[in-house]
Symmetry: C2
């Protein structure tokens, strides 16, 4: 822990709160050329595999009747006290590969079975690095909406989940988001992906 | 709080930890058709304006000598215990507009002065909605690297910050990220933006 840290860590980090799912940590530190002591508080999941990212986020396109859609989900998020538009995602279970977790979460949350894995990121991507040590991997998949397994969809949600599946035509992602972003919390990854697409199309 | 919530909230939410910067909240709830009680823990900043997003994230392109670069930052993040590659970003101060905060943070963290604001998202975008109520706005700006104010750059960092500015040629963003993603934590927004660009270029 703290390998390569450019700050001077002043005492052993303390866990100041230990909950059912989350822990809160307090680190006292200072810049090496400063005498001013600082404290950095952060949140850490209690139960995640150390060697892998905590979770996988699935960017899935659905191909149906010659059209292409992004598979998004809308769900009420208790931490936010409101509705969020997100990519399907979930924690990676012990012993599970990132890819297996992504396919499982996509199916559980949306009912869809992916036909093809396009890519999966390596390493760990931070989500909110000034607040938490949470990390993810991003998997891109295609779903054949005309395949028999994608005809009668059935979600498999747990007791903390109520999820609505939202299909958005790929070309219309940014305009859809701009339309609803003051009514629901559009997750930053969804918005950022749409801005990346738009940037490549118009600003190169 | 909890307007439109599809879950049954079982008691008044409790703040179970109250730190210097962060609070931890515990909400007891159940699905309306289930008797199983659940608890959702989440983290909340103590000092942020309620009406605006907590923070602004700045997607900046630098134009210099006929080339285009993304302005990224690399910094050691104590919550992650490691180096992160991120977009410049920071908290919005009381009474400050989102745009003013974005321009200020870009200048403080990188030294660059933006020449043009291209866009700024409305509403609030969630960052990690199963863990926190943190929210952001995303601002896209251009920086004229040949302008006099962008010649002798000077960062203005606070005592918790040590920041290295990283310029990446726009066209090479994804390949750069794929090269370093097992060595540093590439922030999910940086990775997602690159994947969005790549998607628009190759998968449409």
């Amino acid at each position: 822990m703290f390998a390569g840290c450019p700050f001077k860590i002043l005492e052993k980090p303390k866990f100041v709160y230990d909950g059912k799912w989350l822990k809160m940590r307090e680190v006292r530190f200072r810049k090496c050329d400063s005498s001013q002591e600082q404290v950095w508080e952060s949140v850490h999941r209690r139960r995640v595999p150390q060697s892998k990212p905590d979770a996988v986020v699935v960017f899935a396109t659905l191909h149906r009747d010659g059209k292409k859609y992004f598979i998004l989900i809308k769900q009420y998020r208790i931490p936010m006290s409101g509705m969020c538009l997100e990519f399907p995602a979930g924690l990676i279970e012990e012993g599970e590969t990132i890819e297996a977790a992504g396919l499982r979460e996509l199916k559980e949350e949306t009912g869809y079975t992916a036909t093809k894995i396009l890519s999966c990121t390596k390493g760990k991507q931070s989500l909110s690095p000034d607040l938490a040590d949470e990390s993810i991997s991003i998997m891109m998949v295609e779903v054949d909406g005309d395949a028999p397994e994608n005809k009668n969809l059935k979600q498999d949600l747990d007791d903390g989940e109520i999820i609505e599946v939202v299909l958005v035509e790929c070309e219309k992602l940014l305009s859809y988001i701009e339309f609803i972003c003051t009514e629901v919390y559009v997750d930053s990854m969804v918005y950022t992906f749409a801005l990346g697409m738009n940037y490549a199309q118009h600003f190169r």
